[in-house]
Amino acid sequence: MEVYKFILGFFQRFTLTDKNILFLVLPVVLSVSFSLYLYMSSEQLLIFFSVFVSVVWLLSVLSLLKRNSRLEAALRKEAMNLNIINGYRDVVVGFEEVVGAINAEMVKTENETAQVKGLVSGAIEGLSTSFYQLNEKSQEQKEIVGSVIEDMSSTSASSGGGDSSASNINEFIESTKEILDHFVENMVETSVESMRLVYSLDEMWEKINKIFSVIDNLHGISDQTNLLALNATIEAARAGEYGRGFAVVASEVRKLSMSSNEFSNDINAMVKDAMSGIQESRDVIKRIAAKDTNIVLTSKTRVEDMMVSIEELQEATNNSLSIVDDMAGDIRNSVNAAVTSLQFEDMVVQLCDHIGNRTLVVAGFIDEFESAIDSVSKDGLGMKSLNRVKLACDGLIENISSVEHKAVGQSGMGSGEAELF
C-alpha cells in the first residue's frame, strides 16, 4: 500500500511538461532502442546496458524530482513575496497619502511659526517703545510737579529763588498785615484827634451859647433905656421950654437905644450863624469819629487764617511731592520689570527657529522618503530601494539628534540661558 501511495504520489507530482517528457521518455526510448539493437548482438551486454540505462534514467528522475521540489519552494516563496509586495503596495499608497498630509502640515507649521515670530517681534517692539515712553513721561511729570512745589515752597528762598510764588505770597501777606496795622493806627489816631475836636467844639458851643444870655441882657438894657428916654421926654414936655433941650437929648437917647437893639439882633443872628456852623462841624466830626470797627477784626482774622491755610497747603504739597517721587520710582521699577519680561522674545525666536529646523529636517526626510517610495513603485521591491529608505531613516534620526542637542531646554523666564549669537 505504502509503495503504491508513494508511486502515486510520485506520479502526481509530475506535471507533463516538455522537459518532463524529455527526461522521462528519452532514457526509456534510448534504452529500449538500444536494448533492441543489443538484443541482436549479445544477452549480457543487453542486461548490462539496460541496467545502466535504467540507472541513468533513475538518476535523472531523481534530479528532476529535486529540481521540482526546489522549484516548488521557489514558487511558494514567490507567492509569499507576491503577497508581501501587494501588502507593501498598499502601505506605499497609504504612505504616499500620509506623506502628502504631513507635507501640508509641515508647510502650515512653517508658516505659522514665521507668523509667530513676526507677531512676537512686532508686539514686543511696540511694547518696549510704550514702556520707555511711559517711564519718560512719568519722569517729566515728576519734574514738573517738583518744580511747581518748589516754586510754592517757602524754603526755596534759600536756594536763590527770590522770585518764587511762595516768597511772593509770604511777602504779600506780610505787607497786608502791615497795611492792616497802619490802618488800625490811623483809625485810632483819627479817633483820638476827632474826639478831642469834638470836645473842643463842645466847649466852643457852650461859650458861644453864653453870648445869647448877654445879648438878652443887652436887649433888656436897651428896652430899659428906651423906657427911661420915654419918661425923660414926658418930663421934658412937662418942664415946658426949659425942658426942650432935654426932650431932644431924650429922643436921641431913644434912637440910640433902638439902634442898640438892632445891633443886638444883628449880633444874635450872627451868633446863630456861627452856632449852626459849629453844629455842622460837630456833625462832620461825628461821622469821622464814629467808625464801624468790625471790618478791622474780620480783616485781621482773615489774614491770620490765610497764613494758616498757606502753611497747611505747603505741608500738603510737600507730602504730595514725596508721594509723586515714590510713584515715579515705582513706575520706573515696574517698567524695568516689564522690559525684562519682554526679553522672552529672544527665547521665543530661538524656539521658533528650532521648530523651523525640525520642520526642515522632517521635510527633508519626507522628500527622501517620497523618492524612495517612488523608486519602490518604479523598480519594484528590491534591496536597492529598500536600502534607500533605510538610509533616509538613519539620516533623519541623525539630524533629529543634532537638532535636539542644540535645543533650548527651558519653559519659563526664570531659568535657563539663551544661546549667544
Binding site: V192, M195, A290, K291, T293
Partner: protein
C-alpha cells in the same frame, strides 16, 4: 447805653459802661473825665463786662481819658472785656496803653 461811675473815699474811680460804647456816650464820658480830672484819684478802672459793641470813637475817648487821668506810671485798668472787644483792643495795640484784666 449808659455810663455810671463811682468814686470812693480812697480815690479809686470805677466807671461802668453798659450797652454799646459809641459816639452817643461822648457827652457823659466827658462829664466823667472832668470829675475825675478834678479829684485826686489813685486808681481808675473801666468795667466793660456789659459792653456789646464798640466803635472807633470809643477808642478815641479812652485814649483821651488816659491823657487826662492816666495815673503817673500806673495805667488805667480795663476789666471784663468780652472776646470780640478784647480782640479789637489787641488789634489796636491798646495793651501798650492800658492794663487789661
Amino acid at each position: 447805653m449808659s455810663i455810671s461811675f463811682i468814686e470812693d473815699s480812697d480815690g479809686i474811680f470805677s466807671m461802668k459802661i453798659q450797652g454799646d460804647f459809641d459816639y452817643t456816650l461822648h457827652e457823659d464820658f466827658r462829664e466823667v473825665m472832668s470829675s475825675a480830672e478834678s479829684s485826686g484819684l489813685s486808681r481808675f478802672t473801666v468795667n466793660m463786662s456789659d459792653v456789646d459793641e464798640m466803635d472807633s470813637s470809643a477808642l478815641g475817648m479812652l485814649l483821651l481819658l488816659r491823657d487826662s487821668c492816666g495815673v503817673d506810671d500806673r495805667k488805667i485798668e480795663i476789666a471784663g472785656c468780652r472776646p470780640e472787644i478784647y480782640a479789637l483792643f489787641m488789634t489796636a495795640n491798646f495793651d501798650k496803653y492800658f492794663n487789661f484784666i
